[in-house]
Amino acid sequence: MNARRSITATAIVAVALVPWALFWSSLPSQVATHSDLHGHPNGHLSPLGAVLILGGLATLMALAVLVTRVMTGPVFAFVGGVLAVASCATAIENHDVSSWQHARLSWLWIVASLVTGAVAAVVVSSTTELGGLPHGARPAFDVAPSERLAWVGHGRTRYNLGGAIAMALVGVVLLFVSSPPAGEIALLVAVLLGELSVVRVVVGANGVRVSAPLGFPAVRFRLDEIDGAEAIDVHPMEWGGWGYRGSVRLFKRAAWVLRAGPGMRLDLRGGRVFLVTVDDADEAVAVLNGLLATSTRR
């Protein structure tokens, strides 16, 4: 448990529920819960229903913030923050009105909810409690100053490749037989699955480059951005699931997860973390740490 996470979770619950407690006696029998673009209400619920749905979901998100690890925390914090402000806004805008039709739900609340969600996500993402991230040994190859090393490896998942091929076949059939738009979507999904079936990792003098088959997405970290690297056993759920998760810039952590098993974790400057699943991660890590050792020695 971590102080920032506890505070964020408490704040979410407080913002979601306290206004209801304050205004409970001055609410109409039905409260406006939804409105059109001009702020005119077009949806309503009983106060109890609104509290249970908005406040209840926000509370669930707050609990999720407390129990989840590494990557998923900021996502729950964001949703929790948005719901909390939505819940707060519903209570505030409905009190002291004669009926729900007279409530005015300002679009400013939407802005406020998104901002709150973003702030909550950033606060949670900066928590230092990172599940499965103890600093272990950082093995390094001995690299002589005159030596130049490069390492090239892949992380693959057969499931996605199989899915991509199957989806491509479906797409082609749909395209020519029955429904062209569905076929196009199927082909697009096939390309996306293919993009997520393999990742290439290159470690060398210019840092670490990680890229998908078509060259996008791709990320690069220069050697002077990297503190060290570690080979770890990746459990996808600890990193928020499969695919490209998070953002090094926004949330200080990102993970490119294609499968369970060996992965290379980069500990970047400023406490940021990047993870990629790659075969032979031990060797990749030793090469990178060796390069880091020589580049700082020079």
């Binding site: 005159s146 130049r148 490069a150 090239v152 490896g153 060398g204 003098a205 210019n206």
Partner: protein
């Protein structure tokens, strides 16, 4: 696949790169159908000129270990694993003969007799 070159070695860089790839094929770490990294990418990572890597790849192609295809890049050929091991052994043999001052003609005769 690990590629290591030494700028102070007397062996040219392209030969060193080729030798490292050959060793990876010989050890079975890179197999039939595997693609070698694009020359530009490997050159960037090693901090060498792209033409140096291309020259190494061309050498491996001439040895029959890889194929260079227009679209797919450089691909390891079938049965290259054994061939790469043989190529390594012959290089070792030639090196050892040179070290001992054994002439080319003599080494050839020795190989003939062994067969």
């Amino acid at each position: 696949m690990l590629i290591k070159v030494d700028a102070t070695s007397s062996e040219p860089l392209y030969e060193q790169i080729a030798a490292q790839v050959r060793a990876s094929i010989a050890k079975g770490r890179v197999g039939e159908g595997d693609r070698l990294p694009p020359a530009r990418e490997l050159a960037d990572a090693l901090g060498v000129n792209m033409h140096t890597v291309l020259r190494a790849y061309a050498g491996l192609r001439d040895e029959g270990l890889v194929e260079m295809r227009r679209r797919r890049g450089v691909v390891v050929r079938a049965a290259s694993n054994g061939r790469a091991r043989l190529l390594e052994l012959t290089r070792d043999l030639a090196r050892e003969a040179a070290r001992q001052g054994v002439s080319k003609a003599e080494l050839r005769r020795m190989i003939e007799e062994a067969m």
